[in-house]
């Protein structure tokens, strides 16, 4: 199973009728079992690209091939839960085939046990994100898409959730694509880091990380990060802008 992406151009038309390029040219491929991380500045077209890859937007130039009947698990940038359904119902509605044992395990890892019967309106952003994650994993996806799952959470919470995501990703072989603008998250979670330019998005670098995820401690992470910075252009001040 393999995802092949070759988007040559994607434009949006503004209300005033003028066109602006959002994606300039992006091509890469991901195999099952691989975690690809797209890193790029805010507004460079990452979410737009994910919508194309998930088949939600067909209005682009280029080609995307993903396994025909691939089940998709999508964690959108906003949680996108059904406000009128409980946490548990939200997950079950998206994943009607998931059994109780599977759900229990998921709720356990994501620390949602106490919130099964709450409505989304009663949850903090961190909890709502966890529900969105539970929903995406509950469908046992072949293709998992995560759009900035750690953004706007405080540092401690983000670190915890990052570890939870790492655990879940480790537990299942699938194509995983994660979007972030945080290099630290990218290096801790990814097998490959794809750096994107500001809008219109182009690939600046496509860098594999060879150290297995489980053995990456703080020291290794810092080393890999420094290594990536060096390999891009050796100028850390420029990279800080990413």
């Amino acid at each position: 199973m393999r995802l092949e992406v070759d988007i040559t151009s994607k434009k949006f038309e503004s209300a005033a009728g003028e066109q602006h390029d959002v994606i300039g040219g992006v091509s890469f491929a991901l195999d099952a079992g691989e975690v690809g991380v797209l890193v790029g500045p805010s507004g460079c077209g990452k979410s737009t690209m994910l919508r194309i890859l998930a088949g939600l937007d067909h209005d682009f130039q280029g080609r995307v091939s993903r396994p025909v009947s691939a089940r998709i698990g999508f964690v959108f940038q906003e949680p996108r839960l059904l406000p009128w359904r409980s946490v548990e119902e939200n997950v079950r509605i998206a994943a009607p085939l998931a059994d109780e044992a599977k759900l229990s395990a998921l709720f356990d890892i994501l620390e949602l046990k106490a919130h099964r019967n709450h409505f989304p309106g009663e949850l903090s952003l961190g909890l709502a994100r966890r529900v969105a994650l539970a929903r995406a994993f509950a469908v046992e996806p072949d293709f998992l898409i995560l759009d900035e799952p750690l953004a706007s959470l405080d540092v401690a919470l983000a670190a915890r959730l990052r570890d939870e995501i790492a655990t879940l990703v480790e537990g299942r072989s699938m194509i995983t694509l994660l979007v972030t603008h945080d290099m630290d998250d990218a290096v801790r979670l990814g097998d490959r880091v794809i750096l994107l330019s500001p809008r219109p998005a182009r690939i600046l670098a496509d860098l594999p990380i060879r150290t297995p995820r489980s053995t990456r401690g703080d020291a290794e992470t810092a080393a890999i990060k420094a290594d990536i910075m060096r390999r891009i252009n050796g100028d850390p001040t420029k990279q800080a802008a990413l």
Binding site: L56, I72, R80, R85, I93, A94, G121
Partner: protein
């Protein structure tokens, strides 16, 4: 308690009014109650109330179902909106009386004609309200349903209907009060039974106690249905909303 008080006030005003206007023009509450009991004893009251309620139920269900479907379609499909809009404006502004009379002329003095005429009167407001609801559907949730490959029935039940429910409730509420008003006119003009028919008879005989007995029984039924059926239903729909303090 405040409800009881306002009912007592109503009775008091009525009674005092009847003292001033005289028993012929405005019979006192006990006089009307006597007629009401007599009509109930003979079974007539329940027969006519039942006939009217049956018509209301049928016409209301028909108009809500059709109205919801058409409104949803017009809210989602541009072409449908363009095609339907002139008809909608026409129906919205057509007087109820015209629809009823034409229905009786074209379809005869039949039950079908009566129910269709009532439904047609309610239809356009249901369409307009549901069209508004369909236009306001959240595109983000729609994408979510698509990505997770939710089957159509599940999407309708869990994603679409909950968003439409405030609009459905609004259409039902305004529609029901419209139907209550129109059903009596339709019965008066072309049906041999129902509250509207009885009121017509009472009018011709100038039997004011009978007229009031039927009108008030009808009003009581409306009140009971609104408080026991419509209001709890609305409360259930908004169960998930965080309660206001």
């Amino acid at each position: 308690m405040p409800r009881l008080l306002s009912f007592a006030l109503f009775l008091a005003v009525w009674w005092i009014g009847s003292l001033f206007a005289g028993d012929v023009k405005l019979p006192s509450p006990p006089a009307v109650l006597t007629v009401m009991i007599a009509e109930a004893r003979s079974g007539d009251l329940f027969f006519h109330l039942g006939a009217t309620l049956a018509r209301v139920t049928l016409a209301f269900t028909l108009a809500m179902t059709l109205g919801a479907a058409i409104g949803y379609l017009m809210g989602r499909v541009r072409l449908a909106d363009r095609l339907g809009d002139p008809w909608l404006i026409l129906l919205l502004n057509l007087p109820a009386l015209v629809v009823i009379v034409l229905a009786y002329i074209w379809a005869g003095l039949t039950e079908v004609a009566a129910i269709a005429a009532i439904a047609i009167n309610k239809l356009p407001t249901a369409v307009v309200t549901l069209r508004e609801g369909a236009r306001a559907l959240d595109a983000a949730l729609d994408e979510m349903a698509t990505v997770f490959a939710m089957p159509p029935w599940s999407k309708l039940r869990h994603v679409v209907l909950p968003q439409l429910s405030p609009y459905i409730a609004a259409a039902a509420r305004s529609g029901l009060s419209l139907v209550w008003k129109i059903v009596l006119v339709a019965e008066l003009l072309g049906r041999p039974n129902g509250v509207g028919f009885e009121i017509g008879v009472a009018f011709q005989l100038f039997d004011i106690p009978l007229l009031l007995a039927y009108s008030l029984s009808f009003a009581a039924v409306v009140l009971v249905i609104e408080t026991l059926l419509v209001q709890p239903f609305e409360a259930r729909l908004s169960r998930w909303r965080p309660r206001a303090a």
